[in-house]
């Protein structure tokens, strides 16, 4: 009898060793969730409408410039909605030429609809979907770059939820939440634009030279107040920027000539050419540095500038380095709004770990005491199974890189409770078999055999619940589902295989007909 016992023992010891090797030392190998480590969790929505609006505005502007170049000057453009703009006043004589230009410039994304001298451009449905998807993808990339620059270790930036426009950001260990939020959420569209007039304290005086009408190629931009509380100033600037944030090669915090914090930037090859040409042609005029539609400063161009520049403003050191950071990581394609925000302080996380470990140990002690009292030596089997069960569970988690959360610890404790279940089921059955007068060996094997299917049934039904929980789960709940899932799997092994091996090991030292069993 028990000819495979040696192998069973070897397998048991091997699995134990493998599990311990996998998770030891736990401080390094077990990943902790935000609720235990402390940090911030955000869900953001990308306002993909912004990307559509920008695409429509840019296309209409691009077409206007092209028409100007082609001397179709009577045509005026107007943006109607997120996805629609129109051109009025196209002379019938140039309609053919107009259509060729329009097809070239915006034909890839817009359908044309002509009535008389008016042509309405509507964004194609697939172009809309594409623009939205692209915006979310770009936003994720940008946020990822920013978070990495923040120096957060092991951050998460990922698409989230069934809605196509949500992003999950998790920043373990971050304590200055407000700053992190600002850096992640700043659109950071940088544009350098030639100033036509201003600064002025009211918009009307800026437009006076143009008869009160805003010229088509210009716009009014608000400036930041020099001192907090001072009235806002306005600038009349060219719509088409000289350079934008895309032309930057690098940005870093620096100091201006009065030793106040500023942001220095350098340009890439393309940017140098454009910037050099524009500055040399406009010496003596002012150049507005516009960030997210606000003029930060508007220095005078004293000479042609090719390589580097500086952004002035009333920054603190921190603000200057944060601005440099967001400029380096590029602009967001659309603005972001925060939908969910959770913060856990580091002390709370530590307290939770302490409480969780405490509850686990006490739970384990209570259960073990009861099992030893009720099943005597067989209680040792139960104890060994449960401890090994927990070890395998930890091993699985370390191996898979699964995250341990506070509900995950609850899953641990539940695994202790449920782990006992299979043992009790088996022990009760062995007792029943013994009471029918069977020998110890027959009773043990009958007990395990008869209960096996029941154990499979109960575990499968719980695994189904755990699997759906995992599907449903956000961070913490997933942690729970994970521990529950692997705890159940480990439990089948320990309670059926390991516990039986232990019984057989003990019985193998006894004469075959023995009826004595401490249970």
């Amino acid at each position: 009898m028990y000819k495979n016992l040696r192998w069973k023992l070897i397998i048991t010891l091997a699995v134990t060793a493998l599990a311990i090797w996998s998770f030891a030392p736990p401080q390094q190998k077990i990943k902790l969730g935000l609720d235990l480590k402390g940090g911030a969790h955000f869900v953001l929505a990308v306002q993909t409408d912004d990307a559509l609006r920008l695409e429509t505005a840019t296309s209409s502007e691009q077409l206007r410039v092209a028409l100007n170049d082609a001397k179709i000057t009577t045509a005026t453009t107007k943006v109607n909605s997120l996805t629609e703009f129109q051109v009025d006043g196209v002379p019938a004589s140039s309609m053919a030429q107009f259509q060729t230009i329009a097809e070239q410039q915006v034909g890839a994304h817009f359908d044309q609809d002509q009535t008389g001298g008016t042509v309405v451009f509507r964004m194609k449905p697939n172009a809309q979907v594409q623009t939205r998807e692209e915006a979310v993808r770009q936003a994720i990339d940008t946020v990822e770059r920013r978070v990495n620059e923040l120096g957060v270790s092991e951050p998460t930036v990922a698409p989230y939820g069934a809605a196509q426009n949500q992003i999950l950001v998790q920043l373990p260990g971050v304590t200055d939440i407000a700053r992190a939020k600002n850096i992640i959420g700043q659109t950071a569209i940088l544009e350098l634009k030639l100033v036509e007039a201003g600064p002025s304290s009211d918009q009307a005086s800026l437009l006076q030279p143009y008869g009160g009408q805003l010229p088509a190629d210009m716009q009014v931009v608000t400036g930041t107040a020099e001192v907090p509380g001072a009235p806002l100033s306005y600038y009349l600037v060219r719509k088409v920027p000289v350079i934008t944030g895309r032309d930057l090669r690098n940005a870093k915090p620096s100091l201006d000539e009065y030793n106040k914090p500023a942001v220095g930037f350098s340009l890439n090859g393309d940017g140098q050419k454009k910037f050099g040409a524009a500055t040399s042609a406009n010496i003596g005029r002012s150049l507005a540095i516009v960030l997210d539609n606000r003029v930060m400063s508007a220095p005078r161009i004293d000479s042609a500038i090719y390589g580097d520049g500086r952004i002035y403003g009333s920054f603190t050191q921190q603000e200057a380095s944060d601005l440099a950071l967001v400029l380096r990581s590029g602009a967001l394609p659309a603005s972001l709004t925060y939908l969910e925000q959770r913060e856990v302080g580091p002390t709370l996380g530590l307290d939770s770990i302490r409480a969780g470990v405490m509850a686990s140990l006490i739970g384990l002690a209570l259960v073990t005491l009861f099992m030893l009292f009720y099943y005597r030596l067989a209680g040792v089997n139960a104890f060994v199974s449960i401890v090994l069960n927990l070890a395998i569970l930890l091993g699985f988690m370390a191996y898979l890189g699964a995250v341990m959360t506070l509900p995950g610890i609850a899953g641990f404790i539940l695994t202790i409770g449920m782990g006992v279940d299979s043992n009790v089921l088996i022990f009760e059955r062995i007792r029943e078999e013994l009471s029918t007068g069977k020998g110890a060996r027959q009773a043990v094997s009958a007990g395990f055999d008869r209960v096996f299917l029941t154990i499979v049934d109960t575990h499968v039904s719980s695994l189904i619940a755990a699997a759906f929980l995992f599907q449903f789960g956000t961070g913490p709940i997933r942690g729970f589902a994970t521990t529950l899932f692997f705890g159940l799997i480990a439990n089948v092994f320990t309670s059926v295989f390991v516990s039986r091996t232990m019984f057989e090991f003990v019985l193998s030292k006894r004469p075959a007909g023995s009826t004595q069993l401490s249970i």
Partner: protein, 314 residues
């Protein structure tokens, strides 16, 4: 030592009493929920703000915080955590406004407490759920619960005869309803963690029931002549020791979680405690009873055929 050795209680006799007791509790609970205008949903599902503030001064009370909040405190729930060492006070605000100014409420709580000079303090956690995410999580929670139950039903239906599957699912629903009632009566909010606990209870409750049904099936093989209700009653008695002991040990583990596991998991632990108690009760009294009642209404195919033969003969 053994408990319930050779137990022989007539559980089946009490099935109608048990059903009535359960129905009374559930109806009373439904009435309570109805009167308070819905289940006590936490901010995970309704949206809202929870800020937990730790005060250095142990004398700062819920009342002083409530006073500090001023008009902001009108809709706020202020609660002291039951931590013997630390003075942690939770402030919860209902959903106001939109996603646009998400953390405004949290900031106002902190600045109001700051202004009231209650001594040194620090916010140790903040949870702010906007309306979009709240609605999302609500939908997901309902969906997860229903699909998990559906999955279990399919599995049990596949492994056992259909009336038994119905019995198991009715028992599980019973446990979930009783748990929801207790949560409402003891003022625990439904949070993500609590939903997780409820789904675990669903799995656990079916577990218990399956053990009994497995035994019923085994008994049916050995004694074909015995009427079903006696077979079921015997199965319940045979597994009674196991049912009580496993519930007891799991109960020990969960009690430990409830007492030592900290404030964040208290709702979870409470849900599990209730679930284990009602799960045990429903296994013994409800699941088998439903299976028997349904089996009588819809006799097995063999029995139906026998009846038909008897009619023809008559």
């Amino acid at each position: 030592m053994r408990i319930f050795h050779n137990a022989n209680y007539d559980f089946i006799k009490w099935r109608w009493h048990a059903l009535i007791v359960s129905l009374v509790i559930i109806w009373a609970g439904v009435a309570t929920v109805f009167m308070r205008g819905g289940l006590p949903l936490g901010i995970d599902f309704t949206g809202g703000t929870v800020v937990v503030v730790e005060f250095e001064n142990p004398a700062v009370s819920e009342d002083s915080v409530r006073q500090a909040l001023g008009p902001l405190g009108a809709d706020a729930v202020v609660q002291r955590y039951q931590d013997p060492v630390k003075n942690d006070i939770m402030v919860r605000l209902p959903q106001t406004g939109t996603d646009a100014n998400l953390d405004e409420g949290a900031n106002r709580i902190v600045s109001a407490i700051e202004a009231a000079n209650l001594g040194a303090f620090k916010p140790i956690s903040r949870d702010i759920v906007g309306p979009t995410v709240g609605a999302d999580l609500q939908r997901k929670g309902i969906w997860a619960t229903l699909t998990a139950l559906g999955g279990i039903l399919v599995y049990v239906g596949f492994r056992f005869r259909f009336t038994f599957a119905i019995g198991a699912i009715v028992a599980t629903f019973h446990d979930i309803l009783i748990t929801l009632v207790m949560l409402t009566w003891f003022h625990y909010d439904l949070s993500l963690n609590v939903i997780a606990a409820i789904l675990t209870i669903a799995g656990y409750s079916v577990n218990d029931t399956i053990v009994v049904f497995d035994r019923v099936r085994e008994n049916q093989r050995t004694s074909r002549r015995e009427p079903l209700d006696q077979i079921v009653n015997r199965a319940v008695n045979q597994t009674l020791g196991r049912t009580i002991i496993t519930s007891g040990t799991t109960f020990l583990a969960v009690i430990s979680l409830f007492v030592f596991g900290g404030e964040v998991l208290r709702g979870f632990a409470f849900t599990m405690i209730v679930g284990i108690v009602t799960g045990t009760y429903s296994t013994v009294f409800i699941a088998a009873a439903i299976a028997i009642i349904l089996s009588r209404r819809a006799p097995s195919p063999a029995a139906a055929a026998a009846q038909a033969r008897a009619k023809r003969r008559a």
